[in-house]
């Protein structure tokens, strides 16, 4: 550590007892606990931190805070770390980013030699032609120059990002004296407060102020800490304000995550960001050693770093003047103290790696290594703009001020005017009280409205008018540019000369100029340069600043990582009560929507064969199940299904198909009548939620007079289909209270009984496999017992579990279609092969007019069973059915498998009606370009079309 570290300063934030070792470009350095990366390096004598984006000019500390455009560094595997605000941590490996071969010597600096060719619109003008160069040359070369550090896809060590929600009554954006005052007053008024501070500590400019400032800070901090109603969130930025005061707060360096997004919904937003010090435009204004007054005061007072030895100071305000005092106290020689208020000026700075000479406005040239600029402020009105405000420029104060704000948004502090610490705190307190009163009125309303909330104890608070005494607007000279040209946007290397040229080329509105020159489009996002850009344009066009306007502030105000926006990845996964068993027994997982299901247990074909020969059991829990009760259930079923439901006896089951209003098939399933006014409806697995919502929609809006209650019971009833010629024999061993004989319990009937000692099971005589089968709906808390009992008691019968893939094979053999696979978003009922199921003579059914129209047509495609003539060819699903050798599409294969029962391939397909007759030959275009023929079958079922097996 060299001699740039000063003796102890009153307000310093470093812990001199804790040294931290780190590296910078591979060399060892030490700093103190409390240092930022930049302050530790500056204390060690480092002057150049980066190279600029376009011209690769050397860059040093400019603002010494989060917004410093020159302090982007790489820390380990993390790029774009802001060294002006990131606290030093022992072991950090810090390096300059985007330099080659080194920070000291960067080849790209040759761009400075050809700078006059790289002016406004250079990219647009240069990289347009020849067109093929764009991908092959330009893109590759330009990417070499793109800033942004290095990312390490494979070895990145950062942890998960995070997110949380908050509902403060009042959110205060900015923890300076006004913001702290607002937070305290709001909390004292009974509001819950979230106080968000951009820096690692509260206090704003008081932190690097004089003894009186530090005393005021201590008092404010104590008051904030003492109030339990204030949550302080430091090193965080309110980065967006959206409708109804929905705020996005990015919280950096939280211990559990690199970044966290706080989604805060506040009744009142207090905007108290203070002011951002603005650079001055003159030749050489980006030379290392040119710093803003706030930067030198922060370096000296927070981190005890001497910023230089011989300084020229240009000041237009008391803060600039205060820098002179701090510099003198730090032992820096003041070579020239220039008063901009009196017209004194700086014209040019010379020096490469560091300021060397300074040309003053009076023509003198002085030797110095530090130039301190204190010429004015930018009002960071971002959150106000996001609230709909259009801030107005006041030339007498040389900055923008708030204009019209909604009731829920209030501004305080430096953004509204000037004042002493006491005046700022007082204005903040008044603002906090006002914000609290408005928020508590809103809270009162919400408590009245929310059924869960405690009723308000008293009357609604009165609406307080805004009677605050405004802070004064102290006159300030308009200092934007000297008589020379210099950098306006240090992030993008855009100079005032570039802007003037853009204006001359016709890009003379601020928004056009921004897009043409990229000014304000870099990482600074206008915080340092937007007002200067407007000023340069105003000067170029000989207009007033008021008429020029500014570019629009949009979220995010501060950068936020994609990781924080994503937060934790919550993708709910649904598991049946048997899924653990499936996984423990080698099931291959299948993600079907949100469900994870057993695709197969290693041998799907063998599993399917076993169902045909012996008995298999499959977990079909995702099947949607809706409990319907009430005297009007039949009316509901008549409405939503295409077939008739008036005469369904208790204990009977019926298949039904639903269509949407447009007549397109939307879902299907069976519904059983369990009691006089009690039915159980099943839906497709993927359609369960939509059907439930649709039923509730109709019951609550179109037919509120019907007495029907719908309860979703999908997960509560674990569904086990027991299928195969030996399934009855197996169930006879476990079922009690139900006569399973075919006479007493035929196909499409439902009973209630106990299975393996588990009462209240629902037993259906239904299936999807074409085999004799029963479907057990078992209370899920006992499902595993029933599943294991089936396996244990059917060992001699050859019982085996089978998965979804086996079921797909079996159902295709049987010709059962799947909604969404064998139909699509255009498939009207006649095209699904529903035939006589649809009853057009019902008084009302969803989609009935469309159904009538559809059944009057003869041109709709038809669902048919197809068998390829070469039995070993299994056309890929979605393979096209074409017209002979032409490519005219006449249909498609919707399902296909090799049938283990038949030893040949089988398909379902949608075909043009001209091809739907049994025996018709169709041409199937395979994915490899071959064409094969197939024959349309008489029935959808390839296996057992008469239903002998399932009706056994």
């Amino acid at each position: 550590m060299t001699g740039n570290r000063l003796p102890e300063r009153p307000g310093e934030v470093i812990d001199r007892g804790t040294s931290l070792a780190f590296t910078w470009n591979g060399q060892g350095y030490t700093g103190y606990q409390g240092d930022t990366i930049a302050s530790a390096l500056a204390a060690s004598g480092v002057e150049v931190f980066a190279r600029s984006m376009k011209y690769k000019r050397r860059r040093g500390i400019m603002t010494a805070d989060h917004w410093d455009p020159n302090l982007f560094v790489q820390v380990g595997d993390e790029p774009n770390v802001r060294a002006g605000s990131r606290c030093l941590v022992a072991g950090m490996e810090v390096s300059a980013q985007n330099v080659w071969p080194s920070l000291k010597f960067d080849v790209g600096a040759v761009n400075q030699m050809v700078g006059r060719f790289l002016t406004s619109g250079f990219y647009y003008k240069t990289f347009m032609r020849p067109k093929w160069f764009w991908h092959n040359v330009y893109q590759k070369v330009l990417r070499k120059f793109a800033p942004g550090g290095r990312i390490f896809w494979e070895s990145s060590t950062h942890g998960a990002y995070d997110k949380r929600y908050a509902h403060p009554d009042v959110l205060v954006a900015g923890g300076g004296p006004a913001g702290m005052g607002a937070a305290i007053a709001a909390a004292e008024a009974g509001a819950s407060v979230m106080l968000v501070e951009h820096e690692p500590e509260l206090g704003g400019h008081l932190r690097w102020g004089d003894a009186a400032d530090l005393a005021a800070l201590a008092e404010l901090t104590s008051a904030v800490e003492a109030h339990p109603g204030i949550e302080v969130v430091i090193d965080s930025t309110v980065t967006g304000r959206y409708d109804h005061n929905w705020m996005a707060v990015v919280q950096r360096s939280h211990e559990i995550a690199p970044e966290r997004l706080i989604k805060a919904r506040a009744a009142s937003l207090v905007v108290a960001p203070g002011l951002i010090e603005r650079p001055y435009v003159f030749a050489g204004n980006d030379t290392p050693g040119v710093m803003l007054s706030g930067a030198v005061r922060r370096l000296i007072n927070l981190w005890a770093v001497k910023p230089g030895t011989r300084a020229v100071v240009l000041s237009a305000n008391p803060e600039g003047d205060a820098a002179i005092a701090d510099l003198e106290a730090a032992g820096v020689e003041i070579v020239a103290a220039l008063d901009a208020r009196a017209g004194e000026d700086i014209v040019e700075v010379e020096g490469r790696g560091r300021v060397d000479k300074v040309v003053l406005g009076d023509g003198r040239t002085v030797s110095a290594d530090l130039v301190v600029i204190g010429i004015g402020w930018t009002a960071p009105t971002s959150l106000l703009n996001m609230a709909g405000d259009r801030p107005v420029y006041d030339p007498s104060a040389a900055r923008y001020f708030p204009n019209q704000l909604p009731d829920g948004v209030l501004a305080t502090g430096g953004i509204t005017g000037n004042g002493t610490t006491d005046e700022l705190v007082a204005h903040g307190r008044a603002t906090g009280s006002l914000a609290a009163s408005r928020a508590l009125r809103s809270r009162h309303d919400r408590r009245v409205l929310a059924a869960r909330a405690r009723n308000p104890e008293g009357p609604k608070p009165e609406f307080l008018q805004d009677t605050r005494t405004p802070l004064a607007r102290v006159p300030h000279p308009e200092c934007y540019r000297s008589s020379t040209h210099g950098m306006v946007d240090l992030s993008e290397d855009v100079s005032s000369k570039d802007l003037v040229q853009a204006s001359k080329e016709g890009f003379d509105s601020i928004e056009l100029m921004k897009r043409y020159t990229t000014v304000t489009m870099g990482p600074s996002q206008g915080k340092l340069e937007t007002v200067n850009a407007s000023a340069v344009l105003a000067e170029a066009r000989n207009m007033d600043m008021v008429d020029i306007g500014t570019t629009v502030w949009r979220p995010p105000y501060a950068p936020i990582s994609l990781g924080a926006l994503a937060g934790r990845i919550f993708e709910p996964i649904r598991r049946s009560a048997l899924q653990d068993w499936h996984e423990a027994h080698g099931a291959s997982p299948l993600l079907a929507g949100q469900w994870v299901r057993p695709d197969h247990y290693g041998d799907p074909v063998g599993e399917a064969r076993n169902v045909r020969q012996n008995v298999g059991i499959i977990d079909v829990t995702p099947l949607g199940k809706l409990d319907l009760r009430g005297p009007d259930v039949t009316k509901l079923l008549e409405l939503v299904y295409v077939n008739k439901w008036q005469k369904l006896d208790i204990g009977r089951v019926r298949y039904g198909t639903m269509v949407a209003e447009d007549g397109v098939v939307s879902d299907d399933g069976v519904t059983g009548r369990l009691g006089e006014n009690h039915y159980l409806m099943t839906t497709t697995s993927s359609g369960a939620g939509a059907v439930w919502e649709m039923l509730e929609d109709y019951l609550q809006t179109y037919r509120p007079e019907w007495d029907v209650h719908v309860t979703a019971v999908t997960g509560g009833l674990t569904s086990i289909n027991v299928a195969g010629p030996k399934c009855r024999e197996l169930l006879l061993r476990l079922v009690e209270g139900v006569d399973l004989s075919p006479e007493a319990f035929p196909y499409f009937h439902v009973r209630r009984g106990s299975v393996a000692g588990v009462a209240d099971c629902i037993i259906w005589r239904i299936g999807f496999t074409g085999e004799l089968s029963y479907e057990l709906h078992v209370p899920s808390g006992h499902a595993l017992h029933v599943w294991e009992s089936l396996l244990a008691n059917g060992e001699d019968l050859g019982v085996r579990p089978f998965g979804v893939e086996s079921q797909r094979i079996l159902r295709l053999e049987k010709g059962h279609y799947i909604v969404g696979q064998d139909t699509d978003g255009l498939t009207k009922a006649p095209s699904a092969g529903l035939g006589g199921l649809v009853k057009l003579d019902k008084p009302d059914t969803l989609g009935l007019p469309e159904l009538k129209a559809a059944y009057a047509r003869t041109d709709l495609p038809m669902l048919v069973a197809i068998q390829p003539d070469d039995p070993q060819v299994v056309p890929m699903e979605a393979a096209q059915i074409v017209d002979g050798d032409s490519n005219r599409i006449l249909g498609r294969i919707t399902s296909s498998r090799m049938s283990p029962t038949l030893g040949r391939s089988v398909c379902l397909g949608q075909v043009d009606p001209s091809l739907a007759a049994a025996g018709t030959k169709v041409t199937i275009l395979l994915i490899d370009g071959r064409r094969v023929t197939g024959t349309v079958q008489e029935h959808h079922a390839h296996v057992d079309p008469e239903g002998v097996r399932q009706n056994a």
């Binding site: 059924a451 909330a453 919550f570 709910p572 598991r575 653990d580 979703a712 509560g716 588990v758 209370p779």
Partner: protein
């Protein structure tokens, strides 16, 4: 009858200092009652939407939605509790004991944990002890009840049974900020 099995495969998870605890309470009888507000059942249950009360027989009655109540009791009391509902008029009583997973997050940091996965205002006056509400918790639609314990906030959260294991993992995951450890095999992914 075999033992009742929960979809949640893990026992309670606590932070070492006890600031938060996540535990499975699926083994609870859950009876949903649907009835008109002018029915005898509604008068008998006597709990408005959004609130709850503990009946003398130990049954917790929650006003889950307008004209809908959920009754919680010991898991072996499901039939008894269901039978206790006055079914005069158009009233539905459905036993959803097996259809809902339920878990409790409790402790001084319980609210902070829930605020990481649920966007509802959980302030004491907006969601006081006894409040009943519904919302998204870690992207799962849930019914929630604030049911404080020993002066600390506590939330009973129920969801469709098949989401149970995932939701439990999500709540434990949210608790890790406050010191809870994620047991082996428990993951939100």
């Amino acid at each position: 009858m075999p033992d009742f099995k929960s979809p949640i495969a893990h026992g309670p998870v606590s932070a070492p200092d006890g600031v938060v605890r996540v535990e499975d309470e699926t083994a609870t009888a859950k009876i949903v009652v649907r009835a008109g507000s002018d029915s005898s059942a509604a008068a008998d249950l006597s709990v408005p939407f959004g609130q709850s009360r503990l009946r003398a027989d130990g049954t917790l009655v929650c006003g889950t939605r307008p004209d809908e109540w959920t009754l919680f009791a010991a898991v072996d009391r499901a039939a008894e509790v269901a039978a206790s509902v006055d079914t005069e008029g158009f009233v539905s009583v459905v036993d959803i004991t097996h259809g809902r997973a339920m878990m409790r997050v409790s402790g001084p940091k319980a609210t902070a944990v829930l605020a990481k996965v649920c966007n509802i205002d959980l302030a004491d006056d907006m969601t006081p002890d006894g409040a009943v509400f519904s919302g998204s918790v870690a992207n799962v639609t849930c019914d929630l009840l604030r049911s404080d314990r020993a002066g600390d906030p506590s939330y009973l959260i129920s969801c469709e049974r098949s989401f149970g294991n995932y939701l439990f993992a999500a709540l434990v995951d949210a608790s890790t900020e406050f010191g809870a450890g994620l047991p082996a095999g428990l993951s939100i992914h």
